[in-house]
């Protein structure tokens, strides 16, 4: 019989305690919980307040050393294709055109002063494939390929996930290719004429004949 009444009492007190807790949370809904991270000493002290982060208006800042979306500064790219070869998922596609001698000035220099010798008309990164391993960033000799702090870049159309960093239009690329072929053709013509006249090609030293090999060394003396 007394268990009956104590059950009722326990029921009533636990309901009241529970309602007090909920009401306290309700009243605390005007504050936000602190933003102490797991490393902070008072991480467990922040109990009161809302804990919702209204993304994308409020964002936890991405860490500076984090590896997120790739960005290529094409003006610094020397077209070495190291990143393309290093990528484990082959998400980078590069096409380069060698710059002709008279175009070197137009091709320009990297920000570190290095003369660029390749046009890069096509530099596509498929950021949907990219797994942000960072290998391409570590092998880039001019540090033009870097991670940016952008982690949220979804698109409606998957074709928009291929980022085009090439800085030549198709017409310009065609023009450069033609120029390169013309230069090559002109060089071959000049080399053919020089060979026909029996001279060495311009600017090339004449190779000296190799000296005749001496007597073969004895087996026992080789080690001395």
């Amino acid at each position: 019989m007394s268990e009956y009444f104590s059950n009722i009492k326990i029921g009533a007190t636990t309901i009241a305690t529970g309602m007090a807790i909920t009401f306290r949370h309700f009243l605390n809904a005007v504050k936000r919980k602190g933003d102490a991270g797991i490393d902070d000493a008072d991480y467990f002290k922040q109990v009161d307040g809302l804990c919702t982060l209204q993304y994308p208006r409020e964002v936890v800042p991405t860490p500076t050393i984090g590896r997120y979306r790739l960005y290529n500064d094409i003006d610094d790219c020397i077209g070495c294709c190291q990143c393309e070869r290093a990528c484990p998922v082959e998400c980078i596609t590069i096409e380069t055109i060698k710059a002709t001698a008279d175009d070197l000035g137009a091709c320009g220099k990297t920000s570190g002063g290095q003369q660029k010798r390749m046009w890069v008309p096509v530099f596509d990164i498929d950021v949907a494939k990219c797994m942000t391993c960072g290998i391409c960033v570590s092998v880039c000799p001019t540090d033009c390929l870097v991670h940016s702090p952008v982690a949220d870049f979804s698109e409606f159309d998957v074709r928009n996930m291929i980022y085009h960093y090439g800085n030549l239009s198709k017409i310009e690329a065609e023009a450069k290719k033609k120029k390169l072929e013309e230069e090559k053709a002109a060089k071959e013509k000049a080399a053919a004429e020089a060979a026909a006249r029996g001279e060495a090609p311009a600017g090339r030293p004449v190779p000296k004949p190799k000296p005749a090999p001496g007597p073969a060394p004895e087996v026992g003396e080789a080690g001395e």
């Binding site: 009956y4 309901i15 919702t52 209204q54």
Partner: protein, 359 residues
Amino acid sequence: MSQSPSLNTWSDALSGFHLGGFPLGLLIVAAIPLVFIALYALTYGVYGERKISAFMQDRLGPMEVGPWGLLQTLADILKLLQKEDIVPTAADKFLFVIGPLVMFVGSFLAYAVLPFGPAFIGADLNVGLFYAIGIVALEVVGILASGWGSNNKWALYGAVRSVAQIVSYEIPASIALLCGAMMAGTLSMQQFSVLQSGPYGFLHYYLFSNPIAWLPFLIYFIASLAETNRAPFDIPEAESELVAGFFTEYSGMKFAMFFLAEYGSMFMVSAVISIVFLGGWNSPLPNIGALALNDMTSGPAWGAFWIIIKGFFFIFVQMWLRWTLPRLRVDQLMYLCWKVLTPFAFVAFVLTAIWEIYK
């Protein structure tokens, strides 16, 4: 008809309003609570539930649609209207369709006797309270029809449990309200409010003027939670157990009907408890000397305001309980009803009778 000449002025005027022989006024009288249910269920019911539950759980709730998520309910209603209204092939089509309708009608019919202020009541019956308790039992028919007609064992489980729950909890609820009727000496809802009016505001309310009234008040509040399938008695709708209980198979507008019926009966029981125990449309503010606060806040429009505010307060408490307590098991629910609430209801009945005799 009402005893006092100044009561029910608005609803009497409306019921006499004919437009070319067509009783347009009566239509308006019926439409007002219906519109009120719809509006309230949309705004306070859905939005309030989501926001209150969110704040109690340290989150924000709807924030995107409209400032502070105020238009969220509108978006929900538009979504529900566009949903495909599916009737399963194996379902008993007549029962399936009629279930939500009967449930909504049962919940809405009780609004006929709720006084929204001293000037407006749908039907000032002199057995208003008896009618309100009885007509809510019509929901049981609707629940059974939808549970059985769904041809789904989970729905049937939900429906059967719900019927057991509602029918059991009618008893302590009715006895508790009977205590209130004893205190008032009448069953008319308007008279309940009139008898609790006075210059001292809330001190005239039966809850505060009667030393034993807190017991039937508590008993009726708990029993009304079970009547409306509201947590912690929401086994019929147990979201995590029975998918959605007896309305598992419903989509679109029929689902919205169940929804409206549930929120409608939530407000209805809140209104009943505030009429019987908390003075209905009377202002709680007392006349303090020269500052006649009670007189200042009384009147037809003020009355409507007060009863709505009291209803909203109890709805807040219902939501508060929902997000605090875990669900009761079926046997615990039945234990609570028959072994706790009913005996205490009888005790309260006897004590109220003694108080009334020797007052």
